[in-house]
Each structure stands twice: as C-alpha cells, then as structure tokens.
C-alpha cells in the first residue's frame, strides 16, 4: 500500500521481453522496466524460444529489482502480483509464472494470471484516464489479429480474428523475404516512408461479405510471387515500394474491418493495441477514418504497444477488483483463448 492505494507488481515474459512494473491502483505507472532481447534474436532473424527462456531467467530478478527501486518501494509494499499466464512460448511463460508464484507464496499476497491480450488492451487505460468500456478494440500483434468488443473491464467478445497469419507475423515474414531483417514491423514502417504505396497493387483480402475475420497468408505469398516475377523479368526490385505497397494493403483491411465492427456494435470509441498499433500508417489511417466517421480513437504510445508489464499490472488490478483471483496452481496456457 502507498497512501492507502493498492500496489500491483506486474510481470511479463511471454515472448522476447522480460518486464516488471509497479502500478498504483489501476492506472498509475510507478515504474515499467523492460529488458528487450531483440538484439539477441536479431542474429537469428527471429525469437529463438530456448534462448528466450534462458535470457528471461537471467533477466527476471534484476528487472523486478529495478522496477521496485524505480517505484521507490520494497517487496513488502506490494499488495498483489499479476503475471502473464498465456498465450506465448511455454518456456518463456513458465519463468514469469514461477517467479510470480513464489513471490505470492512468500509474501502471502494474491496472484492473478492475466491473458496477454487483455494486457495489450489495458495498456490503453494507462495513458487515457477517461477511457472506460464499452469500446471496440483492434488487437494487432505478432501472434494475434483480433477485433474485440470490450463490454466491461473483464468482459470480452471476440468478433473476428485471423484465419492464418497474424498481421505482425506477416510483417516479420515479408521483411525477411525483402531482406530487411528482424523485427520486421518497424523496418517495413521505415522503408515504406521512402516508397510508393501504389507501386504494386497487392490483393486486399476481405473474405466473405460480413466477416470480421482476417487472412494475411495470401499477401505474404503475393509478395513472394511479385518478387519472383520481378526476378524472372530481370527487373530491379524496389524494396521501399514493395514495403509501402504491402503495408498499405494490410492497413486498408485492418482499418476497414475495424470501422465496420464499430458501426455494427454501435460503439463510439475505438481502441487499437498490440505491437502493430505502433505502425505509423495504421495510426494515421485510423485517425482519418475515425475523424471522418465520428468515432473517438485511442491508442497507446509506442512503448506501451509492445510487450510490457505495466499493461499486465493494470489488467491484474482490474481483475482483482472484480474478485478474479488465481491460486498457486496457476499454469501456463500457451494457446489460451481470450
């Protein structure tokens, strides 16, 4: 407790970031420490699970220590512990879970398992104190692309999701074939700024007329086919143009479906969250569309878009206040549905 306010320790280790955060009540961030492994994985062109687990193991204690120190509290001040329990890489999740469980046991404090995607959505609360459910959320990340109707802090209805690749996954894969490196999202975002988005008209996949699902495997293959045709023609490949055209095709579909979903659910607020929500074109297109169609738009600053423990702490506090507490048998669920 601090000034009679609840203190939550949040822990996140689902993928390649080891993060710990201290949250005051639901939305005030006292610290949010992130040890990124991106540099470690760059050499391999992506996250290597075993290496990821090993780094989490080395990082977790120092990261928690700095989070407490930065928040100017000690472990004894912590009232509850929130931890990502899925989805993610099983070995990576287990490091965070084991740490959280042993702390909860020793400190005799409640333990709360958080769905990673609920975390991404909650990231938006931190910087928008006025935002309350209901709203419509587009969650776009490395492993997810979903349209979610958020009816209450702990009530979610998934209206649509990807049928094959997630949007972030498509960015990472296309960046690889374009020779841009890892992680693909930010690199394509940058390259696209120097390219012509109408150079190649990649097919926009909208699926059946009323569907809110997505499919991004086709555009991945579309880019590959385009590269092959260029090669056969002996034509020089313009990486920036290709990146820009790919990005526009993806963002047009994401934006259009999100707006349709908001209209259908009669929500007046739209939230975008997850790693891909850092994309500059997506933000611009969503801003323009929302302004034109009369929706209020909310998104986190880039640091809260990617994986971080502040969003997990925030979500944990909301769950705690609704009485959603776990026990020490809490397990990792690598493929957990929201």
């Amino acid at each position: 407790m601090k000034d009679n306010k609840l203190i939550t320790l949040g822990i996140e280790t689902s993928c390649d970031e080891t993060s710990a955060a201290v949250i005051l009540e639901e939305r005030e961030v006292l610290s949010n420490v992130i040890a990124s492994q991106i540099k470690v994985h760059q050499a391999f062109g992506g996250v290597v699970p075993e290496i990821a687990s090993r780094h989490h193991l080395n990082n977790i204690n120092p990261v928690i220590d700095s989070a407490l120190k930065e928040a100017d509290i000690t472990l004894r001040d912590v009232d509850l512990i929130g931890v990502t329990s899925g989805p993610g890489l099983v070995g990576a999740l287990l490091i965070g879970l084991a740490t959280a469980k042993s702390m909860a046991y020793v400190l005799k404090k409640p333990l709360i398992g958080v769905h990673h995607i609920q975390g991404h959505i909650s990231a938006v609360y931190i910087e928008h104190k006025e935002l309350e459910p209901p709203f419509l959320a587009l969650v776009v990340s490395g492993g997810h692309t979903s349209i979610v109707d958020v009816t209450d802090y702990n009530k979610y209805e998934v209206l649509g999701h990807t049928r094959d690749d997630a949007a972030g996954e498509a960015f990472d894969k296309v960046a690889r074939v374009l020779g841009l490196g890892y992680p693909g999202g930010p690199l394509i975002d940058e390259a696209a700024k120097k390219g012509n988005p109408h150079a190649v008209e990649f097919k926009r996949v909208f699926l059946e007329k009323d569907s809110l699902d997505f499919s991004f495997s086709g555009i991945k293959t579309g880019v590959l086919n385009y590269l092959n045709t260029q090669k056969l023609k002996g034509a020089q490949l313009n990486v920036n143009d290709t990146a820009a055209s790919f990005q526009l095709a993806v963002m047009e579909v994401l934006t259009a479906k999100t707006i349709v979903a908001a209209k259908r659910t009669k929500r007046d607020k739209i939230v975008i969250a997850g790693g891909v929500a850092a994309n500059s074109l997506l933000r611009q297109m969503m801003k323009d569309e929302c302004e034109r169609k009369g929706f209020d738009l909310y998104f986190p600053s880039p640091i809260l878009c990617t994986d971080n423990a502040a969003m997990i702490g925030c979500a944990a506090c909301y769950k705690y206040k609704s009485g959603l507490v776990d026990n020490l048998f809490l397990d990792a669920y690598p493929n957990k549905a929201l």
Partner: protein, 140 residues
C-alpha cells in the same frame, strides 16, 4: 512419389484424402519455403480429421493442439528453433509418440528427430501462381 498440385482445391482434396488414412501416432513432416502452403495443407488435413476449430499459423507459439476431431492434431511450426534440442523444452516426445497426429512445418530444421515411418512432403512452387509440386516419401 511426385504429385502436381494444380491449385488450392487440389491441396484441399489431397489433405482431406490423406487424413482418412491417418492413425494415432502418425507424423507428417512438411518441408517447403515460405508461403508454399504448409499451413493451408494442414487446414485440409484437419478438416479431413473432422476438426472444427480454426487452424491458424503456429509460427508464434510453435505448437497448437486441436482436439475436436477423430484423432487429436498437434500442429508444429519449428521455423524459429535454432536446434533440435530445443524440441525437448516443448516436451515433443509426448506429441511425437502420443495418440495424435503430428504435422510439422519446417521439419527440415529438426530432421534428426523425425521418427522412422513418418511421411515427408516436400513442397515446391510450380510454374503457375497456384501450382505446387509435392514430393512425398516415407522415412524407413
């Protein structure tokens, strides 16, 4: 065996037919470049097994389990593994030697772990956009 897959419909038909012959413990190793249709083929195998859940790309979590069909399906994408030893961390033996069917994308990354009796399908791009060539062998 070499098989020309003219378009996605053939992939679908191939997957559904293959699924009819599968029994618990079978392993299908898929080898082929990005976008050759490994996940697409797995979707059809799943359909043939009577699985009702949506099969999505397992690239992110490496393995996904589907239990709603005639036999459980364990769908792997081992692209991100740097070595075969990493499969231990996932407890792969329980999957490979369990009561389900395993389909493994990017199986060439862990070839030394693929047991005898597995079906290997090497997929190549064909001449036309939708064409794929399947090279099917059994490890004996």
């Amino acid at each position: 065996m070499r098989k020309v897959i003219h378009n996605e419909l053939y992939t679908k038909r191939f997957g559904i037919e293959l699924a009819q012959k599968l029994k618990p413990g079978d392993i299908i190793a898929l080898i082929g470049d990005l976008g050759t249709g490994k996940t697409t083929l797995t979707k059809s195998i799943a359909e043939g097994l009577g699985i009702t859940e949506m099969i999505t790309s397992p690239t992110f979590t490496i393995v996904r389990e589907y239990m709603s069909g005639r036999i459980p399906l364990y769908h792997f994408d081992v692209y991100r593994l740097s070595s075969a030893e990493e499969m231990n961390e996932l407890g792969y033996e329980e999957y490979f030697f369990g009561q389900g069917v395993c389909v493994i994308e990017w199986a060439d990354k862990i070839m030394e772990l693929i047991p005898q009796g597995s079906i290997i399908i090497r997929i190549e791009y064909g001449i036309n956009e939708e064409e794929r060539i399947y090279h099917i062998t059994n490890i004996t």
